[in-house]
């Protein structure tokens, strides 16, 4: 039986077209719809399935960020997590919170909570870093199973199928370990209304990075954030013949 720690991040909803702030300091987040990072939903789902299969006995959801981070923790609880930990980081400091800080926090919590598995999403769709799981594993000196599309527990090990560039790869990791979830690991469930109501009564502990002895001084300075170069709008062409002619003109085909 294992205890599973799952990291969840509140990000701008994946369907929102983001806007860069005019002063180039970041993107507009006020009044913009946020939700749980899609990869983290997959991570929670996997942990809850482990519990349902009696492979895990407790699922702990963790999120770092301002007060609103509790929204995604409640979602995680409604999906089936048993308890939640909110590591509160004030909005101002949250702007410069980096995977190195989050992974130190998660590593500390994994030890405090005596977790056997840490499951994280492969990347957050806002900073697109793809670092936190690997760094958490590095800080704990635990094995890492990144970009997992299938996980099976076997005695003191996990068998993991990973999505790699040329196909798939099978590895076997000793527990405790850190897993990062890829898109195809599972299909996350929706939280039902009764479960959302029940989630409000589940325990949610609040702490700060300081309580865990983690320094969150930024290591990377954001110089500026800009819009990407705009592509020139092209033309709608009438038929395949015109397309062939255009491709020949451009030298793409002989």
């Amino acid at each position: 039986m294992a205890r599973v720690l799952v990291g969840v991040k509140r990000v701008i909803d994946y369907a929102v077209k983001i806007r860069v702030k005019p002063d180039k300091t970041g993107v507009v987040t006020d009044g913009v719809k946020h939700s749980m990072n899609p990869f983290d939903e997959i991570a929670i789902e996997e942990a809850v399935r482990m519990k349902e299969q009696k492979v895990a006995n407790e699922v702990i959801a963790v999120s770092c960020g301002p007060q609103q981070a509790q929204d995604v923790l409640r979602t995680a609880l409604a999906m089936g997590a048993d308890k939640a930990i909110h590591v509160e980081v004030p909005a101002k400091e949250y702007e410069t919170l980096q995977p190195i800080h989050v992974s130190k926090i998660l590593a500390k919590l994994a030890q405090n909570e005596k977790a056997d598995l840490v499951i994280l999403g492969k990347q957050a769709i806002d900073d697109d870093c793809n670092q936190t799981a690997q760094m958490t594993a590095g800080f704990l000196n635990w094995p890492q199973a990144t970009f997992a599309s299938k996980v099976e527990k076997q005695d003191g090990h996990i068998l993991v199928k990973r999505e790699i560039d040329g196909g798939l790869e099978n590895i076997k990791c000793k527990l405790p370990a850190v897993i990062s979830a890829d898109l195809r690991l599972n299909e996350p469930r929706y939280a039902t209304l009764p479960n959302i109501m029940k989630a409000k009564k589940k325990p949610l502990t609040k702490m700060t990075p300081k309580d865990l002895g983690v320094d969150i001084t930024p290591r990377i300075k954001i110089v500026k954030v800009e819009d990407p170069p705009v592509r020139q709008a092209g033309a709608i062409i009438p038929d395949v013949d015109t397309l062939v002619t255009k491709l020949k003109e451009k030298g793409h085909v002989a």
Binding site: I12, Y14, I18, V27, Q98, P99, I100, S103, I125, D126, D128, N130, Q131, Q134, M135, T136, A137, G138, F139, P143, Q144, A145, T146, F147, E163, I164, D165, G166, G167, L168, E169, N170, I171, K172, C173, K174, L183, R184, P218, R219, I220, K221, I222, V223, V225, E226, P228, R231, Q232, A233, G234, A235, I236, I237, V240, K246, L247, K250, H252, V253
Partner: protein
Amino acid sequence: MLCNRTRHLIYQFSSQARRLQSTLVIAEHDNKSLSPITQSAITAAKKLGGDITVLVAGEQCKPAVEAIAKASGLSKILIAESAAFKGFTPESLAPLVVDIQKKSNFTHIVSGASAFGKALLPRIAATLDVSPVSDIIGVQSADTFVRSIYAGNAIQTVTATDPIKVITIRGTNFEADNLEGGSVAQETVAADSYKTDSTEFISQELSKSDRPDLSSASVVVSGGRGLKSGDNFKLLYDLADKLNAAVGASRAAVDAGFVPNDLQVGQTGKIIAPDLYIAVGISGAIQHLAGMKDSKTIVAINKDPEAPIFQVADYGLVADLFKAVPELTEKLK
């Protein structure tokens, strides 16, 4: 006289700066050949300035070492050959790199932002207690880099303040170094002590294909949900064969089981920038555009004139793909 002295000072200064800076490039290979993204990583390393050392670690390093041996502008190839690196697990490679780093004090550690580099470099960075910078698309100076965030919808310039910069580079944004014109010194590193039992490589299931590799192909034909089935992808394979192109897919096509996941182009799949990208039956969601909007020429074939893909396509054809694609294949004969 004065001019000479100034020149001398400048020379001293620049050679000092060069001495202060040194980069370790971690080569990616499969024991048989060097992965092309390593050539882009070497180009990025040259932009950083300073000495460049390339590390080749694996069970069979010879083919990769031979590929790099005649490169120009590199000072050394470190060779770490051992059964310990079976499957290139980060659990065995990270301690090797950290030990090399402790001995040589590189200012930069660089690798390609492939599945290999993405899995390995953050682990190295954590062990060194530095914050890594992922998937950079530009180098402004030795400590300031450009990268994309929010699926490529914003471009961020960042300065890394840690003493060691651990960086992965996006292959499509740095030209491949031709690995010619020089001769690189080679040095063997003791490597047998890195065997680990924490993670064991078991097997790989690689997709077999005679077509060019998706990440490096100059022409890519991609299919989406509009193809309706895996069998219909044959239409794209026929077209791809005409153009000597690689075949890619949108997430929708992968999720529907039409094609394997390693063909996915997008924010969380492969990021590519071929000369010609032909999107067939792909609507053009933000997450897909993130993976292909740097292509030189984009062609979209879609029957929905409102599809967002037409906003980035140089040539858009509003047509039924089941008619247009065979016709295109035919007319390219």
